[in-house]
Amino acid sequence: MQIYLPIAEMSVNVFVLIGIGGLIGFLSGMFGVGGGFLMTPLLIFIGIPPAVAVGTQSNQTVATSVAAVIAHWRRGNVDVPMGLVLLAGGLAGSGIGVLLFRLLKQAGQIDLVIAFSYVLFLGLVGVMMGVESGRAILRARRPGGAQRRKLHKHHWIHGLPLKRRFRRSKLYISVFPPLGIGFIVGLLAAIMGVGGGFIMVPAMIYLLGMPTLVVIGTSLFQVIFVTANAAFLHAVTNQTVDVMLAALLFIGSVTGAQLGTRVGAKLPGEQLRAMLAVLVLAVAGKLFYDMISTPDSMFEITWGDV
């Protein structure tokens, strides 16, 4: 069954869209990340214009994050003060990100910047996660079993001024590191059309030293607002939010997430993270290959005034 998307201005198979939503929802439910970093490349792959894929994906992420955060809220895994500090940085970041997006779109380089950001960040996160989970798996196998780690290490980040207590996160730190992390993630969210969970989560765990469960809940909480802001700004400045596309993706992802959560609960954490690392690196590899392989056409055509 084909459906014509009013903003993307093309006809797409409904089941392909619901299927993509379902697949990403399944993976995000299983791994506890938003999955936007996988969805945008998939949408571009099926021929959705990159700008529309990014704008729409921001909008769709609002819905999936709300759905996910409700469950975490009930279990008390959302650190609201921490979320608000991250959000303050995030809003500034996404505002500048959308402006940057517009400039790059005018220069005709937006597709490359999106692809390049993906390769860089997916590559980094994939390698980090792969190394970390690989070590954890080896540690678990070693006789004597897993050693208990310190709650968190102290480094220069903890010496910054304007300290504040974050009770849920069991932290007493300066507001600058979360502000900075929020800003960078907001910037990337706007340019790449992702919630930024895949960057935010490792940064909060490894840089801030927050407990993992609170990290996921808090990250999702602030992602709602950052992506809502990004989607709104994309709609206003670029008119690239396709609500029809967002709705179809959401139907799939909500269903997939329920299944994914159940499957994920049965698998051990390190193996889950190792699998996610492989997936992330595979996507990065594919995007990198596309950047260096000879394109089908030596010219790019953009209609409309730029």
Binding site: A67, Q109, N238, A247, I301, D305
Partner: protein, 264 residues
């Protein structure tokens, strides 16, 4: 992509109409002298409506002549500016070089004739009436004309035409017009699913002995209808409200799984 078909259609439409009238006026004299009935043609539908289930469509053009002549049909979509960029490899990575902008390039162009165009019309007539995509005037913008030399402009123009042919938005069919009983003719005009919206013109030319002896212009509109039109209109005319509504709906949709669980 966004904004395609948003430009005011009136000036382009007027220009086309005036041109069509000029063509007719130019042809009126020899026609009257020969005492022949002019070519008559019409479309099976004057509107291509893009709704939610739109997957592309066909419109039948049919007509009649006195017989013994060739028919050339040209369908032209609204003109729009377009930027063509060459992909260049820098340090192993492919990126876009400086863009060349053309103004008033047809967003859709189709040609169908009873025989190959070379056999029907000489090049000078084709370029005069802009019959065949190679003959269509696609001028570069003033800035681009200063920046690029004419050889590059020609190269980029070819690239644009090639790309649009591959996308199925520029199409030629040298035997697309079929003639029945020597006098009735018909052709199927194909519009792919990503056909641009706006005012179209269908020019029907009658050719005898390499001379245009008759012409008729039939208007055609491609537009979004129903929900498609409303969403597109909303998104472009009231971008801020659209953005706010889209975010609000997404926010509320996030509560759906919880609501479903409660109901069960």
């Amino acid at each position: 992509m966004a904004g395609r078909g948003r430009r005011s259609r009136v000036p382009a439409a007027w220009r086309r109409t005036i041109r069509g009238m000029l063509v007719l006026a130019a042809l009126a004299l020899p026609l009257a002298a020969s005492g022949q009935a002019p070519v008559v043609a019409d479309l099976s539908s004057h509107v291509v409506a893009i709704d939610t289930s739109f997957v592309g469509t066909e419109v039948v053009l049919f007509g009649a002549t006195e017989g013994g002549s060739d028919i050339v049909v040209v369908i032209r979509g609204p003109g729009q500016s377009v930027t063509v960029r060459e992909r260049v490899q820098v340090a192993g990575i492919w990126l876009n070089a400086a863009g060349l902008q053309f103004v008033g390039a047809p967003t859709y162009y189709a040609l169908a004739s009873t025989r190959p165009l070379d056999e029907v019309l000489p090049p000078d007539v084709r370029s005069l009436y802009q019959i065949g995509i190679e003959a269509v005037a696609i001028p570069p913008s003033r800035d681009s004309a200063e920046y690029f030399d004419s050889a590059t402009i020609a190269l980029y123009r070819e690239a644009l035409i090639r790309e649009m042919r591959e996308r199925g938005l520029y199409r030629e069919s040298e035997t697309g017009v079929s003639v029945l009983g020597g006098r009735l003719f018909r052709t199927d005009v194909i519009f792919p699913s990503d056909v641009p919206t706006g005012a179209y013109f269908v020019d029907v030319y009658e050719v005898r002995d390499s001379q245009l002896v008759g012409a008729q212009t039939v208007p055609l509109t491609v537009r979004k209808v129903g929900l498609e039109a409303q969403i597109y209109q909303f998104a472009h005319a009231h971008a801020a409200y659209y953005g706010a509504a889209a975010v609000l709906v997404a926010f509320l949709a996030g509560f759906l799984p919880t609501v479903v669980r409660w109901l069960r």
